[in-house]
């Protein structure tokens, strides 16, 4: 068996064990079998280990921990596959929802919805993710327009620069909104901004799932195009890729995933940057594997990060974005240096 197959087995196992660990570890601990019983009971209607289904366990596991673990999974998976796609499309290993401004745009959209209590009638509770997605998409477009105006092609450095400029601007706007709001709102928004998936419950899982499914299908169906983009858009065109169509689908898919993630959990950095990079180190750059593997690994990673965020200063919780940045930034620095040394 080759490395890629092992990587699939490893990632699958990683996701499962991270999820179980996330369900199991907490301030109140239950036996693992009891945890599994609750899940089996809820999902298949019968338990396995014959634990008495106490309503206490049931509420904690099913109403609090399980949606939380699922949310972390979806958000981690979304950010990672979106990051991998942005990187492939822009041929830029430093592109991710964070660096090219999608996250901050989505955050602005979400903050606006929260602060101004916007609710679009026919969208109902989906107003938040939809506006966040639109915010992210519009911001990305602005970043591309700036890049296009300042350099002929979608130059790597220029995209990152434009992303940073726009992010800084949006950050200022968000700060302005926070400054104008009263104290209670401010703390809430600030906490949310740093990335948080605690106390969300099933409602937020429901918010992300439809976008997750659509986004993932869009991206996974374009892995071959992403490979063809390796030599640039024009070259991809010569290979018979529908360049404009493919590009739009990939950008839409990645924005859907990013916007929905930001809407439910705030902006969580570094996942979309580090996870695909790590996967590529092991499997190589073929997007056919990089995308699904990033999804699995990223999901598992965020579940673990969430676990740490609530375990490290228990009973208080850290924003998960703090954990991903604390872990992600040094890892990324090491990866960059290693890459340079490997090249010699």
């Amino acid at each position: 068996m080759n490395k890629t197959v092992w990587m699939y087995i490893f990632s699958g196992g990683f996701v499962l064990s991270a999820a179980l660990l996330g369900l199991f570890v907490s301030s109140v601990s239950f036996p693992l079998t009891a945890v599994l019983d609750v899940l089996a009971e809820k999902m298949f209607g019968s338990d396995i280990f014959g634990h008495e289904g106490s309503s206490n366990i049931e509420v904690i596991i099913w109403e609090i921990r399980f949606p939380r673990v699922l949310l972390a999974l979806f958000v981690g998976a979304s950010l990672s596959i979106a990051g991998a796609s942005f990187q492939g499309l822009l041929r830029n290993p430093l592109a991710d929802p964070y660096t090219i401004g999608v996250s901050s745009g989505a955050a602005l959209g979400a903050v606006a919805v929260l602060y101004f209590q916007i609710s679009i009638a026919f969208l109902g509770s989906y107003t938040l993710p939809v506006v966040a997605i639109l915010g992210g998409f519009i911001t990305m477009m602005i970043v591309f327009i700036i890049t296009r105006l300042s350099s002929r092609d979608l130059n790597i450095e220029t995209i990152i620069l434009a992303g940073i400029i726009i992010s800084a601007f949006i950050g200022a706007v968000i700060s302005l909104i926070i400054a104008l709001s009263d104290r209670e709102d401010m703390r809430q928004i600030l906490y949310w901004l740093m990335g948080n998936i605690g106390m969300r419950g099933w409602s937020h899982v429901q918010l992300i799932v439809p976008f997750f499914i659509v986004g993932v299908i869009l991206l996974l169906s374009r892995t071959h195009d992403l490979n063809a983009f390796a030599l640039g858009e024009e070259s991809a065109g010569h290979l018979g890729v529908n360049v404009q169509g493919g590009k739009v689908l990939i950008l839409v898919g990645a924005s859907l995933l990013t916007g929905a993630s930001v809407a439910v959990s705030g902006s969580i950095g570094f996942v979309g940057l580090v996870i695909p990079h790590f996967v590529r180190l092991i499997t190589g750059p073929d997007h056919k594997h990089v995308l699904p593997l990033s999804m699995l690994t990223g999901g598992g990673f965020l579940v673990l990060a969430d676990l740490i965020s609530r375990a490290i200063i228990a009973p208080k919780e850290l924003p998960i974005g703090v954990i991903t940045a604390l872990i992600g930034a040094p890892i990324f620095a090491v990866l960059l240096v290693r890459e340079r040394m490997r090249k010699g």
Partner: protein, 487 residues
């Protein structure tokens, strides 16, 4: 295969190309030539559909290019573009496999055994097979170029577009690549359209040419396009001369920049050094010379002219190598020297330096008539090469065309033969008057200053100057020889 009618196009609102009418036949190796910014790449991008024309039409295999789906087009044509930046660690094989994209069906794009077969075949053809697992971005420019060619060939196209394909390649790989393309062209009737900067490479490999100048097609046709010096001068803005390839029936182009020499060196100020072994005449700068000397013969430029003395029993296995060795011993630069040899005593030499009919001429002759020959008589048997020779070097302050050099040789030979007749030099075998000796050497060297003269035959002033100078010098040298040998 490709036909453009009234084609115009460019970037943004500005047209770079105007009114391009071109027909490229199936199986042609078609070269686009022209200076930087003449619109070659734009034309290529229009023909590959990467750019939309602003006016006119492009037909590929009889259908307008717009009617092709991108996949259909990719099966029909492949493009080897100039830039080749790849960010991630794609291996060589993965890059080449991208070429199979248009042949793979469905969403999953399964790699078929046929795909694998084609990919490994083209990798072997382009000599990249042995590093197929290396990351593409670690390769050298030349290696990358070959990998990209492999990718283009993996598309199995009927038309291959190349933008500066030999840009990063060394001489060997340039020749290998183009020879390889040539084979594809022949064996599979592949049409090749290439932008080639190097006119000499274009001349060697392409069949048809189109010259672009300021966005217009100024000339199309076969090799005669490249032989049109006035056209190339107009297109490139520099003087370009062509001459023929030494072994192939192809022209080769040479740039002739404005005169780089100092113009005041008009005199034949050759320094003469003479001893038992050699006569060495050195000029401060090279002269254009046509000669049949053992070393440095043909039509060349030389600053040094040597005539070596060899003994009668000289073993002439490899005279050219011997001359090179003697030059080295004498500390004379071999690459810049014309070398003759003779068994005659060098002391019998004749120097004639005068200005005849306004042409300064300097003639150096060594003559021995031991094996004088009448070329018009049959000889009993082929004789071995012998040293015993009339060696003539004529230096002219004049500007001769290549044809005039041949004239000059003719003039000098006529004068030599006349001198032999007047001196009553006889062929010992036939007892008739000799026309020369069996191993005569001649060199005509000119400063190439002033207006060039196309003729130097007996009807011209230069020709007469050569004839008179050579006649006097040969006569004097034979007299010297006879005096010493007591004849």
């Amino acid at each position: 295969m490709i036909e453009t009618n009234g084609l115009a196009g460019g970037y943004q609102k500005e047209d770079i190309l105007t009114d391009i009418n071109l027909i490229i036949e199936e199986g042609d190796f078609f070269a686009l030539i022209g200076p930087n910014g003449s619109g070659k790449t734009t034309l290529l991008r229009l023909m590959t559909g990467a750019l939309e024309p602003s006016r006119g039409s492009i037909y590929v295999a009889g259908k307008p290019i717009q009617t092709y789906s991108s996949r259909k087009k990719a099966k029909m044509m492949a493009v080897l573009a100039q830039n080749s930046h790849v960010e991630f660690d794609f291996s060589v094989e993965e890059i080449v496999m991208l070429g199979r994209y248009p042949h793979q069906k469905g969403l999953i794009k399964h790699i078929s055994p046929r795909d694998k077969e084609v990919v490994s075949e083209v990798m072997k053809q382009t000599e990249v097979y042995h590093y197929r697992d290396k990351p593409f971005k670690w390769l050298s420019g030349g290696e990358k170029q070959r990998v990209l060619l492999a990718k283009a060939l993996a598309q199995e196209p009927r038309i291959l577009f190349l933008d500066e394909p030999t840009n990063h390649l060394d001489v060997k790989h340039t020749v290998d690549m183009l020879q390889h393309l040539k084979e594809h062209q022949k064996n599979r009737q592949m049409t090749i359209v290439a932008i080639l900067h190097d006119l000499n490479t274009a001349a060697l490999f392409a069949d048809k040419f189109a010259a672009l100048h300021q966005g217009r097609l100024v000339k199309k046709g076969d090799l005669s396009v490249l032989k049109n010096e006035a056209l190339l001068q107009k297109v490139y803005g520099v003087d370009i001369k062509h001459h023929s390839h030494p072994t192939l029936a192809k022209p080769q182009m040479l740039v002739a920049p404005e005169k780089m020499e100092e113009p005041n060196l008009r005199t034949l100020e050759g320094e003469v050094e003479q001893n038992e072994q050699y006569i060495h005449i050195a000029f401060p700068r090279p002269l254009r010379v046509l000669s049949n000397a053992v070393s440095g013969g043909g039509l060349q430029w030389h600053s040094h002219f040597c005539n070596f003395h060899v003994p009668k029993n000289y073993d002439c296995q490899d005279p050219a190598a011997d001359v090179l060795r003697w030059l080295e011993d004498a500390n004379i630069p071999a690459g810049d020297t014309l070398g003759m040899m003779t068994a005659v005593k060098l002391a019998d030499q004749a120097f004639v330096r005068e200005t005849i009919m306004d042409t300064p001429v300097f003639t150096v002759v060594t003559a021995g008539v031991g094996n004088a020959v009448d070329i018009t008589e049959n000889h009993p048997a082929e004789e071995e090469w012998q040293v015993g020779t009339i060696n003539i070097m004529v230096f002219l302050d004049s500007h001769l065309t290549d044809g005039a050099f041949v004239n000059a040789v003719q003039s000098a030979t006529e004068a030599k033969t006349k001198a032999l007749a007047d001196m009553q030099v006889a062929d010992p075998a036939t007892k008739t008057i000799a026309t020369g000796t069996s191993t005569d050497s001649i060199a005509i060297a000119a400063t190439q200053q002033g207006e060039s003269t196309p003729y130097a035959g007996s009807g011209t002033r230069v020709g007469k100057a050569i004839g008179q100078s050579v006649y006097r010098a040969v006569t004097e040298a034979i007299e010297n020889y006879r005096q010493r040998t007591d004849k």
